[in-house]
């Protein structure tokens, strides 16, 4: 946990509580920080992530909005340009489709278009997470859309400590940051680090020497489970952010293992995994023992049926199998 944070958090904290704590710490350490979103105030958020903050920090710091994402996300960008440091919530990642402009055309570009005269220190806080029958319009992982747009950082915490630490780092960052939680992880428990890894660095979540597995978000759990059960030795890297992309850590690992599997919950086709695969296949052309493989969701919308949905998401078995087959190939 950050040294400037006064609060202590109980051991075995839930990911959701780590988010709440991160928000509270951000609000406490800088009076320019405000929370803005639908039902983030008195209601405490539909996942209870902001519970208690309205009471503690008051309605001038924690602002409920109408169902007007284009309006309030745009206003948050304007507020960030003029002295506030808003954390603005987009309830489900799928809803970026109604408020993409302030993120992609405004926040991401204004510092550049004004040659740095304006800055936009803002956190767009959202969550994704397929696997709960939320249907095709509430299950999308669209991180590649944002990683592709210059001027945005894209952060995807996969652990409890990162839920807290990366959130605080994001708020302190002078750039617009898209902070993507995963609601499947909200109930997960873990410890908060005393000495957090900064934003921009990948973490070796499990050391190994035969196949490097690069992932982020909820897929990390599946990858770790695969590492547990696989006879192949997997080195699991949690990317933590897509922008900045810590390609050095990835290259260092793959140059040791000679094999790479990229795993993500998002659709595989034209997904963020392709960038990592393309970079590594290029830069380690002579070192790679086997082709770089990717494992993402197939190119279909997420179905409602839990059975169908489960059949589409990369799970520990599929990951272990892909790793084994890579190991066998060369």
């Amino acid at each position: 946990m950050s040294s400037s944070t006064p609060e202590t958090v109980a051991a075995a904290t839930r990911y959701l509580d780590a988010i709440t704590q991160g928000l509270a710490d951000a609000l406490a350490e800088d009076e320019h920080v405000v929370l803005i979103g639908i039902d983030v105030g008195a209601g405490g958020g539909i996942f209870a992530a902001t519970r208690g903050l309205h009471e503690r920090f008051g309605p001038e710091r924690v602002l409920d909005t109408p169902i007007s994402e284009m309006g309030y996300v745009g206003a948050a960008v304007g507020a960030a340009m003029t002295g506030l440091r808003p954390i603005v919530e987009i309830m489900f990642m799928d809803f970026v489709t109604v408020c993409l402009d302030p993120i992609v055309n405004q926040a991401a570009k204004l510092p550049y278009m004004t040659a740095g005269a304006l800055s936009v220190p803002i956190v767009f806080r959202t969550q994704t997470g397929a696997g709960r029958s939320a249907g095709a319009q509430h299950s999308q992982s669209l991180e590649v859309m944002f990683a592709h747009v210059p001027g945005l950082k894209v952060v995807m915490p996969a652990t409890v400590t990162d839920a807290h630490d990366l959130l605080l780092d994001s708020v302190r960052d002078p750039n617009p940051v898209l902070f993507i939680e995963n609601r499947r992880l909200y109930g997960m428990r873990g410890e908060l680090d005393q000495d957090p890894l900064p934003l921009g660095r990948a973490r070796i979540a499990r050391a190994g020497d035969e196949v490097t597995v690069v992932t982020w978000g909820q897929s990390l759990r599946e990858c770790l489970a695969a590492a547990d059960r696989s006879e192949v030795s997997l080195e699991v890297l949690d990317l933590r952010s897509l922008v900045p992309l810590d390609i050095e850590t990835v290259l260092e690992s793959v140059s040791r293992t000679g094999r790479l599997l990229v795993v993500h919950e998002a659709v595989q086709d034209f997904g963020a995994g392709a960038e990592i695969a393309a970079r590594v296949a290029d830069e380690l052309f002579d070192e790679l023992l086997t082709p770089v493989r990717r494992l993402g969701a197939p190119a279909v919308p997420m179905p409602f049926s839990p059975l169908l949905e489960r059949s589409l998401l990369p799970n520990a078995d599929a990951i272990a199998e892909a790793a084994t087959s890579l190991r066998k190939e060369g």
């Binding site: 109408p66 169902i67 249907g135």
Partner: protein, 330 residues
Amino acid sequence: MRAQSADGRPATDGLSPVQRFERMALIRSFELKVSELYRDGDIPGFVHTSLGQEAVAVGVCGRLARDDYVATTHRGHGHCLAKGADPGAMMAELFAKGTGLCHGKGGSMHVADPGHGILGANAIVGASIPIAVGAGLSSRLLGQDRVSVAFFGEGSVNQGAFHEAANLAAIWDLPVLFVCENNLYAEFTDSSRMSRVPSVTARCAAYGIEAHEVDGNDVAAVSEAVDDALGRCRSGSGPILLEAHTYRWQGHYEGDAQPYKPEAEVTNWKARDPLVLERGRLVVAGEATAEDLDAAVRGAEDIVERAVSDARQADDPDPMEAYADVLINA
């Protein structure tokens, strides 16, 4: 052969007062059962019931022809049932079964039944409003006399999609009936706090759209207002909005304990139960006896019981359904 409504439109599906009661009883039974099933974990995903709002669904859809269009929201079960969707196929959809209206791929937030003119529930607040306007455009340009109904909540009026779609329907004089169910809340938020002009009717002046308020718990009143509006819509004079004042009995979604609602408010609104009101009216007017209506309620319960037991026994979707219907072969 076909019954004619006041405006000369064939109205096969135009419901008699007793049929309206039956339809309301069906929605009531269906939603009560769904709430119970959800609590017990039989239905996955997110579920939003329309308990307390039955008179709006039936008052409106009871006046529509089978080929008139309806587009609705996350809270769409009642509208679909009122418009003629098969309760068995709907229940199977909520159970994510292969026999469901959408083969288990849509779920509660995406039930659709184009054969009954139902263009679908929708999980993006505001999104179904332009869709309904587009259906109205088809009707006009194809020289049909179908009306297109957009159901939406008062909370969605703050979305840009409402603003743009309402204006478009007005300048194009489209046969669109906007039905705003003002149930006072959007999620945990008292909607009157989210606009200085809580009256949706008043806000319609900005579009030059004729708007009327109606007691949304009085099915006869809704029917009458709709009859009036439909004639005008079909005559080419453009859209009309009805603001139906009603109340959401349950939480925003199943599982919401609704701490934000004043107890007296709940009590007062429950005292105006649309089924009880209509029962009284029918009996007093001599249009039905209490026994008839009790039988109607039992009939509805039977239909729902059968729907549930059929859904339980139905097969899961074929695993290959996960890959079907993404792109149609050209």
